[in-house]
C-alpha cells in the first residue's frame, strides 16, 4: 500500500465516521419526555419506557406516570389539580404552575423545526 493509498484510506474512514455522526444529529432521537422544575431539567427519558417518576416540586412531591408512549401528571400537591385533569399526552406540555413543574413530551416541538407558532 502506497502512502497515497494510506492517506486516502484514512480520509475515507474519517468521512464514514463523520457521515455517521451527522446522520445521527439529523435524525430524530426518538420521542422523549423532559421534566423541568423551576426551569431546570431534572429528568429526561424515552416515552417508550413505562415508569412512575416521583418529582420534588416547589411545594412538594408530584408523581409523573409514563405508560404506553404517553405521559400524565398522576399526583400533584397543588389545590386545583389542573395538571392532573389534563390527562395523558403524547406531545406538548403539562404545566403545574403552583409547583413549578413542566412536563414536555416529544421534546416540545417537532425535531425538524425550531419552534411552532399557532
Amino acid at each position: 500500500m502506497t502512502l497515497a493509498d494510506r492517506a486516502l484510506f484514512t480520509v475515507l474512514i474519517i468521512a464514514s465516521f463523520a457521515g455517521m455522526f451527522y446522520t445521527r444529529e439529523a435524525l430524530s432521537q426518538g420521542t422523549e419526555v423532559i421534566i423541568e422544575v423551576s426551569g431546570k431539567p431534572v429528568f429526561t427519558a424515552s416515552l417508550d419506557l413505562d415508569r412512575d417518576v416521583p418529582i420534588e416540586g416547589a411545594h412538594g412531591r408530584a408523581g409523573v406516570e409514563i405508560r404506553d408512549g404517553k405521559v400524565r401528571m398522576k399526583e400533584a400537591p397543588c389545590d386545583n389539580h389542573i395538571c392532573m385533569k389534563q390527562g395523558w399526552i403524547t406531545r406538548g406540555t403539562i404545566v403545574c404552575l403552583p409547583n413549578s413543574i413542566v412536563v414536555i413530551a416529544g421534546g416540545g416541538v417537532k425535531k425538524d423545526v425550531d419552534a411552532i407558532t399557532g
Partner: protein, 338 residues
C-alpha cells in the same frame, strides 16, 4: 497511472473540507420557564455555557417582572390598578406598562378597532372551557365599554386612565409579543448574537443557527387531525418575529357553529372569516397584536392592512384557502401531508 502527489493533495483537501464541517465552538442552549400562564422557551447560540446561563437568567427575570406588571388576574399588577381606577383617576405606571399600552392603542388605531385592548368586559362574559356563550343582551350592555379611544395616555406623567367606569383593559392580545421583544433585547444586551424566543406561539428570532441557516418555524395547521399534520408550513426566519392567531385554541362548537376566543370588538362574538392568520414583522409586539387585528378584519381587509404596514402574512380563510404576501412566498414551504 496516478501520481502520488496529487492523490495526497486531494486527500489533504478532502480532510480539510471535512474538518471545516465539524461543529463550531458555538453551542445551542435551551431553557423553558412557565411565565404569563404559558411556556416560554428561549434558545441561544453562544460559545460559553456560563454566558448562556447568565443571559437566560437575566432574560427570564426581565420577562417575569414584566408579566407581574400586566397580569390581568393579579390584584397587585399595574394593569389591575388601571382597571380598578377606571372612570375615577389616572394610574401612574412603569415605562414598560405605559409603552405596551401605547403600542396597543397604536395597533387599535391602525386597525380601526379590530384589535382593541379594552375588550375585557366582553371577554369576561365568555366561558370557553365551560362551553358557555353570553346572551346577546349581556354583550350589547358590555359593548359601550369597549373603545380604545377611551384610553387616556399621559406620557409626561407616565399615567393611564380608562375614561368610563366598568372599562377593563386586557393586554392578552399583545403582552406575549411584547415580552418576546423584551427577551430579545435582554439577550442582546448580554452579548448573545443569535437566538430564538418563543412565548407560546409568539416567536422572535435573531441571528442564525450554528450551521449558519435561518431559524425554521412551523405554522400550526388550523384543522389538525393527528400528529402527522400538526404543521401546515415551515417559514425560514432571521431578525424577524412571527405570531399566529387561530380559531382552534380556546373554542367550543354549539349547533354546528364554532365559538372561539378571538372576539370581534364590534359585535362581541367570535370573528368568523378566518381559520388562522400568521404575521411576520420586525417585532413580536406587532406580530402578536396585528395577527389578531387581521384575523378580525378578514382576508381582504386584513391583507390590505398587513401590506400597508409592510408585514408579511399568511391567512387561511374560513374555506381553507390560503392568502399569502409575495415576500413570504420565498421564505415558506408548505407541508405535503396537509
Amino acid at each position: 497511472m496516478m501520481k502520488k502527489q496529487p492523490v495526497i493533495a486531494m486527500a489533504i483537501l478532502l480532510l480539510a473540507a471535512l474538518l471545516s464541517c465539524s461543529p463550531r465552538k458555538e453551542s445551542v442552549y435551551r431553557k423553558s420557564m412557565p411565565i404569563m400562564d404559558t411556556i416560554v422557551s428561549i434558545t441561544v447560540v453562544c460559545e460559553s455555557k456560563e454566558q448562556a446561563e447568565k443571559a437566560l437568567k437575566e432574560t427570564f427575570a426581565a420577562m417575569d417582572h414584566f408579566a407581574g406588571l400586566i397580569n390581568f388576574y393579579s390584584d397587585a399588577s399595574e394593569l389591575s390598578a388601571i382597571n380598578r381606577n377606571a372612570g375615577t383617576s389616572a394610574t401612574k405606571v412603569s415605562p414598560e406598562t405605559f409603552d405596551v399600552i401605547e403600542q396597543a392603542v397604536f395597533v387599535a388605531g391602525k386597525s380601526g378597532g379590530a384589535f382593541d385592548p379594552t375588550i375585557g368586559p366582553v371577554v369576561k362574559l365568555w366561558d370557553f372551557a365551560g362551553r358557555k356563550m353570553p346572551s346577546g343582551i349581556d354583550v350589547s350592555r358590555a359593548l359601550p365599554l369597549v373603545n380604545y379611544r377611551d384610553i387616556i395616555l399621559d406620557r409626561k406623567n407616565s399615567s393611564v386612565l380608562l375614561r368610563k367606569k366598568g372599562m377593563l383593559m386586557d393586554l392578552g392580545g399583545i403582552a406575549k409579543g411584547y415580552a418576546a421583544d423584551i427577551a430579545a433585547a435582554s439577550l442582546k444586551k448580554n452579548g448573545i448574537l443569535s437566538g430564538l424566543v418563543a412565548v407560546a406561539g409568539d416567536i422572535r428570532t435573531f441571528g442564525m443557527k450554528p450551521d449558519r441557516t435561518p431559524w425554521s418555524i412551523g405554522i400550526k395547521n388550523p384543522r389538525q387531525t393527528g400528529e402527522r399534520d400538526e404543521i401546515i408550513a415551515k417559514v425560514r426566519l432571521t431578525q424577524k418575529a412571527i405570531s399566529t392567531s387561530g380559531d382552534y385554541e380556546r373554542y367550543f362548537i354549539a349547533d354546528g357553529k364554532r365559538y372561539h376566543h378571538i372576539l370581534d370588538p364590534e359585535t362581541g362574538f367570535s370573528a368568523e372569516t378566518c381559520r388562522s392568520v400568521s404575521i411576520v414583522a420586525d417585532t413580536a409586539v406587532y406580530t402578536d397584536a396585528f395577527s389578531t387585528a387581521v384575523f378580525v378584519l378578514g382576508p381582504e381587509q386584513g391583507m390590505r392592512l398587513a401590506k400597508e404596514m409592510g408585514f408579511d402574512a399568511l391567512i387561511i380563510d374560513g374555506h381553507g384557502t390560503t392568502h399569502i404576501t409575495d415576500g413570504l412566498k420565498e421564505k415558506i414551504s408548505f407541508e405535503k401531508n396537509t
